[in-house]
Subunit: 442 residues, 2 copies
């Protein structure tokens, strides 16, 4: 048996590592277009913030590690096409054939086709090179003001990172709220207040229409409202698109955004072809629908599922509730399940509770405000979503709500009495979750 994996990031190398353990006889070859593998891209903003200096810390495992385990890695090689009928892949100067194929090409940052987008001081933050380049450029003393386009998680984390480097930072967001895909307005508002408190300039409801500059560098960002701002650098963080251009003209089923459609086993519509991670769809745990959710947690779970299926073990991806957390300076926001907007859009009849309380007792130093929004599906009588905002890791509580969603437990007086830990430095006797559940049950 010979397995070819296209792509050397989390999903691809996750499949390689587990499949080699599952089935040592399997000949595994990874073709990938970088000089390194297993990048933990989520760490890039923290590298830019200079939390650490050696960028290779972001590589979970080295090529040598994998080679030692018997996985062959062909680096710096771009696979340009696949002949699914004859089970062959093609790259510059060669071809190879497989029994099983795993497409793990990941995603690339969206670069809107606007004037000036190719100025050399417009950065993205996806690859190791991106991180090194942005950090180097931002460390220049003549680089004072940096605009970040997009207020998703990477935009927010990068804003904090650049502020840590003492830059003037401005975020430009086309929607009326930050991170509005993943948070409802109440939580977005809190993040926005926090950004303002931390001297991040926030321009909402504004689209970038063009960049102008000279000597190859953008100097002005022109916005949809006719205004412009002067900058020394720009970070593009407007989202991702699956790296699947090479499959557009093939019979591989793709979603609208180009994501490879896979089932719960990571199987595509073509026999012996698997995919997972940022280049593929995943399943919403609650609605069962195909979704595009390029999260590291989803990628690592799909990697296991694919490796197990290739090795002949039954395994299925259970689904995603898109649980996520983000630190924004001295605060943090966390979410799981559907937002209110998503639930309404899905046609669900819902009930919500929004509570503002405290994370711990007032007499032990360190008490902070804690916000919780719970979303319940009235028909199933189950929790389907939650969002939190707080400080000092108090929002790790969201994992308890993810667990209640995961277990599909009914919202009733038993759930209302869930036995959570209490001690003065950590909680209050009646936790914010109890208060929110009582409100839902009223």
């Amino acid at each position: 048996m010979k397995t070819i994996i296209i792509g050397g990031s989390a999903t691809g190398m996750g499949v390689a590592a587990r499949l080699k353990r599952n089935d040592p006889e399997n000949e595994i070859i990874v073709y990938q277009n970088k000089s390194y593998v297993s990048l933990g891209a989520c760490g890039l903003p923290y590298f830019v913030a200079d939390n650490f200096q050696d960028e290779t810390k972001l590589l979970a495992r080295s090529i040598e590690d994998f080679e030692k385990s018997g996985v062959k890695i062909v680096s710096n090689t771009f696979v340009s096409s696949v002949d699914f009928d004859n089970k062959k892949i093609y790259f510059e100067g060669g071809e190879d054939s497989y029994d099983e194929l795993v497409i793990a090409t990941g995603a690339k940052p969206i670069k809107p086709a606007i004037e000036g987008i190719d100025f050399e001081n417009i950065f993205t933050l996806t690859s190791l090179e991106d991180g090194v380049n942005l950090k180097k450029y931002a460390s220049r003393t003549d680089v004072k003001k940096i605009a970040i386009i997009g207020a998703g998680f990477i935009g927010l984390e990068t804003a904090e990172a650049l502020k840590d480097l003492n830059k003037e930072v401005c975020i430009i967001e086309m929607k009326d709220h930050v991170s509005s895909k993943v948070f409802d307005e109440q939580i977005s508002n809190l993040i926005e207040d926090n950004l303002s408190r931390n001297k991040i300039e926030l321009l909402l409801n504004k689209q970038v229409v063009k960049f102008e500059g000279n000597e190859g560098k953008a100097k002005s960002v022109f916005l949809s409202d006719g205004t412009s701002i002067e900058v020394d650098a720009v970070v593009l963080a407007v989202g991702f698109m699956p790296n699947t251009t090479m499959f557009k003209e093939t019979n591989l089923n793709l979603a609208k955004n180009g994501a490879i459609i896979v089932d719960k086993k990571g199987k595509t519509n073509i026999e012996s072809v698997y995919s997972g991670g940022d280049c593929a769809t995943s399943k919403d745990y609650i609605t069962g629908e195909d979704i595009y959710s390029p999260l590291a947690t989803v990628a690592s779970k799909f990697a296991r599922v694919i490796a197990d299926n290739i090795a002949g073990k039954e395994a299925e991806f259970a689904g995603s509730v898109k649980s996520a957390i983000v630190r924004v300076f001295d605060n943090e926001a966390a979410r799981t399940g559907l937002t209110e907007s998503e639930a309404v859009e899905a046609g669900l009849s819902i009930k919500t509770a929004y509570i503002v309380d405290k994370d711990q007792t007032g007499y032990v130093p360190g008490q902070s405000d804690l916000h919780l929004k719970l979303i319940m599906d009235v028909k199933s009588n189950q929790l389907i979503g939650a969002q939190m905002f707080g400080a000092n890791k108090s929002t790790l509580r969201i994992n308890a709500i993810a667990a209640l969603i995961w277990a599909k437990m009914p919202v009733d007086s038993i759930m209302e009495q869930i036995d959570l830990v209490y001690a003065p430095p950590f909680a209050r006797t009646t936790d914010i979750l109890h208060i929110a559940l009582s409100k839902l049950l009223k």
Copy 2:
């Protein structure tokens, strides 16, 4: 309708507050032997540690607050007996009659009957006066060394508090491990290491046989191994016993330790007589058995249940998994459900997983070790217990496990893929819980 409540702490005042809201016409009278109500006793070690100076911060609500809401409070009054047949209570200089009675007399610290136990520098830590007295005495510069007897949660918290006051602290524990009722050996070991690192002297496997001293003050503590230690003060923290001596000769059903046996509605065996909190039993969520678990979280839930039942609403206590957390200097330990020892004692066939991992990524500052023990019942295929040890509130994850226990979710590949939040400052892509679940499923 007239309701008499005996006891002004968490349970009693919790019933009073909610019952008044439920049923404003109900005449509610609280008889209690203190001059204040609603003490959050869990905060006493933090008061002793001088985290705050005004001890009244420990009172959740004042007598005036309650009186304003229409609840009558008779303070400094010790109810000496109850005539259940004629629905009367008796106190010094008077009597009163009720339609419904709530016994919420709480618990008192166990004072072993050993020589010298009444020396004036031997303290307990249960009442507001206890806190004030201990703090005042410990602040004397000639009080240098303090022995704490008992290494339960209060013993541990008090050790930290007294160390904060720059005292030499010694803990004497009769068992071979600290907090062995609530933690298995692996976690107790970690707490013990932490105590040693923080210069707390730990004497395990030793019982106190007598105190000797002069001028009314204990100076020497004699131990079961024939040794003795010199001290300037002693804190007794060997556990609690229900405050129910007055009911010993009545037909009120009491458990072996004196706890009033109640059902899930907080009803005793006597019509119209309720009880709950530290003077009563509660129910184990997993085994369904009557247990004695004097936790603030149990008390507050029973208070709600009792108030609702008196007001004619159906309400039942769902049970307790004894979820708890304790801070020990720069570490924290948390638990929920049954320990391995308890599970074995209950005759359950179990499987356990013990994992040592990290709480977050290594490249963001602040990474700490994180320990997790999971206990699963093989027959029901459900989680029945968990214990964690870590730092920086990373053990708040235990609430997610409490939720999985609460929901009685089967341990399978769906649970194994639970979608927990991830971002570099908070977690790793594969959380310690995922690793432990995978181990259980192997």
